[in-house]
């Protein structure tokens, strides 16, 4: 099933572009028509058939869904709580989605008696890779599956696009990745929680360190020319300039189109940069880091950045080129605290892999739900009360305990990590970051 949907999703952007090109090259109407129909097809399959899996005592099948949900929202402790897990299982974020599922499931498996006595029934829906597929997935969970809570969402635009849906239907959404500042800023809602990060945070945390320890001047900024890239760079600039640093230049390669960063690397060299602060993720992070070394910048201009530059699956792709890169993030798997030691051990024995930040975020999303339900003793009949209960808890995360600000965004400590022998290792605490509300 997942593989069927992959085809449609991978090809969507391509079809649109190939249609455009084909139009120029040969037969406009024909290819355009072909592109249009395929896009629709991709869209339909992207909404996907959800897969339900029961955990704990719950064994309700999909058909029983609506009734289970009605009784759930009518309160009833003991009834299974329907939780929508909205994560990418197709498209470019697939690996990220897998980490999130693992983290979420680990919390359910290791806390069978939690959630205020309620059992959890998980309904997983594919977020896909575009805002459209993500919003459609959210609509499906809320209107058709009638879930009580939704957890997940990788894509920021999908989270913003689904904002009104959750706000108006008063269904809590716990975001386990999407970083757009506005989600807990201008577009904040009492029903929307975030246990991951805002784009500003990891970069803001690095500004003072860069000034004190790397270079008080001549830092060059580089990130893709889309919303997340812009917000990430702005966060760094804010802190670095406040510390007294001067930025020597900034450039923004086209997002999802750039295969070769050499011209941008030449720009960095020509600007006389003393250090580079970068944000890339996914395949772009692999290409950028490798070419940074290939063109000789690796040994001469220190490369620092937002933690996503070296997080998760990209690190294997980067290989030796990633060694020595220092980044800022709210998690690193060798963080020295008892909660993390316990978490890493459980994660490794369950999945035979080290957890990444995406796994921790989904784990904490489940934990936030648990803590909220514990406050209300499993009662979700009054959603307004339930979300206030969730907003006031302190989350004992493997990343270190954190709380949520008034806009339900984490107030959390960031860590400096360095890639040593192909693995992120803890260097030191940076600062605790709290966004303005």
């Amino acid at each position: 099933m997942a593989d069927d949907t992959t085809a449609g999703l991978h090809r969507r952007g391509f079809l649109q572009r190939a249609g455009l090109l084909g139009a120029a090259a040969a037969s406009p109407a024909l290819l355009a028509a072909c592109s249009g129909s395929a896009v629709d097809e991709g869209g339909d399959s992207a909404a996907g058939s959800p897969s339900a899996s029961a955990s704990g005592a719950a064994s309700a099948s999909e058909e029983e869904g609506p009734s289970a949900s009605e009784s759930a929202s009518a309160s009833g402790s003991g009834e299974a709580l329907r939780v929508g897990l909205l994560i990418p299982t197709s498209g470019v974020y697939t690996l990220l989605g897998e980490s999130m599922r693992s983290g979420f499931q680990l919390y359910l498996d290791t806390n069978p008696d939690a959630f205020g006595g309620r059992s959890i029934e998980t309904i997983e829906v594919d977020e896909g890779e575009t805002p459209d597929t993500g919003v459609r997935g959210a609509q499906r969970l809320v209107t058709e599956e009638e879930v009580a809570v939704v957890i997940g969402i990788v894509n920021s635009a999908a989270a913003l696009g689904a904002r009104d849906l959750f706000d108006e239907s008063q269904i809590p959404l716990i975001i386990a990745n999407a970083g757009a500042n506005d989600i807990t800023g201008a577009a904040a809602s009492p029903y929307i929680f975030r246990v991951s990060f805002s784009n500003r945070q990891p970069n803001f945390a690095l500004g003072q360190y860069m000034y004190d320890e790397i270079s008080p001047e001549g830092v060059f900024l580089i990130a893709p020319d889309y919303a997340a890239g812009t917000e990430q760079m702005a966060g760094f600039r804010e802190a670095y300039e406040a510390a007294g640093g001067t930025i020597v230049g900034q450039t923004a390669p086209p997002f999802a189109q750039t295969q070769d960063y050499q011209p941008f690397l030449a720009e960095i060299q020509n600007a006389g940069a003393q250090a580079v602060h970068a944000f890339f993720s996914g395949g772009e992070a692999v290409t950028f880091v490798q070419q940074y070394t290939q063109f000789g910048l690796g040994g001469t201009i220190p490369l620092l950045g937002s933690g996503f530059l070296t997080e998760g699956a990209v690190l294997q792709g980067q290989g030796a080129a990633a060694n020595g890169i220092r980044t800022s993030l709210h998690y690193v798997s060798d963080l020295d605290n008892p909660r993390n030691a316990e978490f890493v051990e459980a994660y490794q024995s369950a999945y035979d892999a080290l957890p990444d930040v995406f796994a921790v975020q989904a784990y904490d999303a489940a934990q936030l739900l648990d803590l909220g339900l514990a406050e209300t003793e499993g009662d979700t009949s009054d959603m307004a009360t339930f979300v206030e209960a969730m907003a006031s808890v302190e989350i004992d995360s493997p990343r270190g305990a954190f709380r949520l600000d008034a806009n339900r965004n984490p107030v959390q400590t960031f860590y400096l990590r360095e890639v040593v022998d192909g693995a992120n290792t803890y260097v030191q605490d940076l600062i605790e970051v709290e966004d303005a509300v």
Partner: protein
Amino acid sequence: MPDVGAFLSDNAVTILNGLARGLVLFMIAIGLSLIFGLADVLNLAHGAVFLLGGYAAVQLAPDGNGFLVALAVAALVGLVLGGGMAAAVRPIAGRGHLDQALLTLGASYVLAELASLVWGDNYYSPLAPAALGGATQVLGVSFPTYRLAVIAVGLLIAVGAYLLFERTQLGALVQATVADRGMVSALGVNTSLVLAGVFGVGTALAAVGGVLAAPVLGVRPGIDSQVLLLALIVVVIGGLGSIRGALIGALLIGQVESLGVFLLPELSAFLLFGAMALVLLLRPEGLFGAPREAAG
């Protein structure tokens, strides 16, 4: 009068890199261009073959050893796939571009999906052969040795293809088939075989290009469509069915993507399509394309 020498030495790395990019693009575009010129088929499966070439490098030469084996296997697989495509499009020859586009697009989905089943959604970055691993001093600047090798191989293939087409009987036969297939057929030549040969060799070049590009661009799902898009732009700029056009178009796009982006970083997202639009405006048939009576 600006100092051209100083400009060239200041930007040597960028220009060289554009040359390497352009020559990789040429290897993909030449097949696309010839197949269109000869068989009137816009082969949208070309990018997927490039991707398979990349996975050949991942599978057979992840650490750079066995690179030649990967090249040979990719060429062979490309040859077979190309021959297969030639056979597949034969029954629908003359049924217009839509049917061909659907067929070749379908083939590209199948190939990319099979690759995804085997190699997953991971990002791979196979290493260059150890002998070409470091950097070399060229024109007073340090440049990755492997990319110099890509330039050398690309130039060899370009010169070889040019000589083959312009100086040999085989090339004359192919050119004649492009010009008037019915006449060549009437002379007793099996034009289907010529067609299958061009399909096979053109597709093999795309697969070889995939292997060569793997240590530079990495290998991941989706890169097939990015590369196909660039190759289509090259073909549009250079003109359909022209080797010279494919080469000049590819070198031009290579420089647009390197020197152009470096000089005008804020316009980098528009340069590619700007260059294409300009060519279409001034010479709709492409720089070296024969004027066509009506757009197909």
